[in-house]
């Protein structure tokens, strides 16, 4: 496996799944080149709908398609989908319309386009709805499996995908399981819970920390909601220290979900790494360094957190 953007893996998976499942349709709001549904649209023009730059209408039409037996993937940048929260809230969530919402271009990682195009609050918004699971795959293999799962999931679901390439963190034998976090590297000194763009960085940081005598357990939390409480609690009870890492606002994302759960069940010292400001234009490397999401940032935060 080579590094690949999860949006690209999504586009390829959709093309394959669409060949054997005629229920699959795509909806876009003038970003199909970016969300990578373009290949599907070319192959299946009668099952691909570009609603124009009109995301609310797109989400509503997707709900109607879902309620008439189709499997609609409604795709846009994550910020533009979450920005139409009210339509998602009523026409998708409350109506239990099994729409597959796909938000791409998540996090500061999109870089040069700057804050208005960055999905930084999408998890916080959608996590507040009772019945929309949130899945953020970490690499190509996981993305392909998550897309296949989304087709079969009986209700609405949200897939959170990156613009940037993701280094593979799973081997060929990996099997994605909805609702389950997977331990990428075992350790007993600190639990690093990470999702999406920074997963490979967290694994690399753990390697560096190991050389210094800190054994970090790295857990890829692909299903942010519902949170895999069992895996998180098992790890936290062994390490006694939890660090969360995500390319999303520090408020309302993975870190918040973990804090809420641990706070109620097993209060554990916790450090959240994420975005605390608006985003800005810049290169991915520089932005990840600025927000502590690169290898140095994650390793440094863990050291400081453990007083080592």
């Amino acid at each position: 496996m080579v590094a690949k953007a999860s949006r690209a893996a999504f586009g390829e998976a959709l093309l394959e799944l669409g060949a054997r499942d005629e229920r699959i349709v795509t909806l876009d709001a003038d970003l199909s080149k970016s969300t990578m549904t373009m290949a599907f649209a070319k192959k299946y023009p009668e099952r691909a709908f570009d609603l124009g730059i009109a995301e609310s209408g797109m989400i509503g039409v997707a709900a109607g398609l879902a309620l008439t037996g189709h499997v609609p993937f409604a795709c846009s940048f994550a910020c533009f989908l979450a920005g139409r929260f009210e339509t998602i809230r009523v026409s998708v969530a409350y109506s239990e319309s099994p729409v597959k919402l796909v938000g791409t271009h998540v996090g500061v990682a999109i870089g040069e386009d700057g804050y208005t195009q960055m999905g930084l609050e999408d998890v916080a918004c959608l996590r507040s709805l009772p019945n929309i699971p949130i899945v953020q795959p970490a690499d190509e293999s996981e993305t392909r499996q998550a897309v296949a799962y989304a087709v079969e999931h009986p209700g609405p679901i949200y897939l959170r995908l990156t613009r940037q390439n993701l280094e593979p963190v799973h081997d060929a034998a990996y099997r994605f399981r909805f609702g389950k976090a997977d331990v990428l590297r075992p350790g007993h000194d600190v639990s690093i819970l990470v999702t999406g763009g920074p997963v490979a960085n967290a694994v690399a940081a753990a390697g560096r920390l190991a050389a210094e005598g800190i054994q970090a357990e790295v857990i890829n939390v692909a299903t942010i909601k519902p949170l895999d409480e069992e895996t998180v609690l098992r790890s936290a009870s062994r390490t006694g220290h939890v660090v969360t890492v995500e390319d999303h606002s520090i408020n309302g994302g993975l870190g918040s979900a973990v804090a809420e759960m641990l706070g109620e069940i097993m209060p554990t010292p916790l450090k959240r790494i994420g975005v605390t400001t608006f985003g800005e234009s810049g290169d991915l490397k520089g932005l990840y360094a600025k927000h502590g999401l690169d290898v140095d940032g994650i390793a440094g935060t863990v050291r400081k957190f453990l007083n080592r």
Binding site: E46, G57, G60, V61, L65, T68, T87, E96
Partner: protein, 298 residues
């Protein structure tokens, strides 16, 4: 239908008006004005037009109905009860804790409701999606969606007004979609014309590619004829502009913005019911009058 039983439909609509007043009097809150303006349209749809099976609310070939102006759902609840989706005596549970008759339509709680609405502007998009879904599946069912005039100020309405006539491409044009505007001229804060005028509305709709029909939304024969025309229109969706009177049938509610979202007190409900029922009142009115009279005493 070619020869609608207008007298029968008018009688059902009259019963609907009484039941709307009754429901709201029991609930102590709700939206009488728009429920009374839309009831003739809903009566015609439910009892003259749409194909559905109240015993199988999810029957795949059913016609779909979405009340995009969800706050007027008492009118729909009456039609559903009358059609047999649930017992008539459940109507007075409207807005009560635990009732599937939510203040605004809840698809999950009440089988027969096709989409949650009332957050305005959304129902039209969902209706367009359903019309597209039915076309893709090769189904002949139709989709009816009732919009409010105040609601038509929502941006999402115009997104779908722009896209629906083109949606589906040449092979799946949405001629199975029929929108009906309950154009009663009043919204919560006052008169639509003063707040954000929709005019010239038919010009706008035609420019967007809709087949437009203008009718009196209280004339059942006109409603029926317009629905016939919509069904016969091929190649695209139809928009029926139904001119109505807010609070229609109750003199002290008609054309008064105060009655957009205020429930009648029991005394007011009795006056309203007396006006709607006329003299001599049909036999089914007496128990309702007795029931509300008891509320006055308590």
């Amino acid at each position: 239908m070619a020869n609608p039983d207008v007298a029968k439909l008018e009688s059902i609509a009259r019963e609907g008006r009484v039941q709307i007043i009754r429901m709201l009097a029991h609930a102590g809150s709700g939206h009488p004005g728009g429920s009374l303006s839309v009831i003739d349209i809903l009566t015609t749809l439910f009892f003259d037009r749409m194909r559905y099976d109240p015993k199988q609310p999810r029957w795949e070939d059913r016609d779909r109905f979405i009340l995009s102006k969800g706050h007027c759902v008492p009118a729909q609840y009456f039609c559903m009860a009358k059609a047999g989706f649930f017992p008539m005596d459940r109507l007075i549970t409207l807005r009560k804790l635990g009732s599937p008759l939510q203040g605004h339509p809840d698809r999950v709680a009440l089988p027969g409701i096709e989409a949650a609405t009332g957050s305005l502007g959304q129902g039209i998009s969902v209706a367009a999606g359903m019309a597209l879904g039915l076309k893709l599946s090769g189904k002949g069912a139709r989709v009816y969606c009732v919009l409010g005039d105040g609601e038509t100020q929502e941006g999402q309405v115009w997104e779908s007004l722009m896209s629906a006539p083109k949606l589906g491409g040449p092979n799946h044009r949405l001629d199975n979609l029929c929108l009906i505007l309950d154009y009663n001229g009043i919204q919560l804060d006052g008169f639509v014309k003063k707040i954000l005028d929709l005019e010239p509305l038919t010009d706008k709709l035609k420019a967007f590619g809709w087949a437009v029909i203008e009718i009196n939304g209280h004339d059942i024969a006109q409603i029926d004829k317009a629905l016939d025309q919509a069904a016969a229109t091929k190649g695209g969706p139809t928009f029926i502009v139904a001119h109505t009177i807010k609070g229609k049938g109750v003199s002290f509610m008609e054309n008064d913005p105060e009655w957009h979202g205020k429930a009648p007190k029991p005394e007011e409900a009795l006056r309203a019911i007396a006006e709607i029922a006329g003299t001599p009142a049909p036999a089914w009115v007496a128990p309702i009058v007795a029931e509300i009279s008891a509320m006055v005493k308590s």
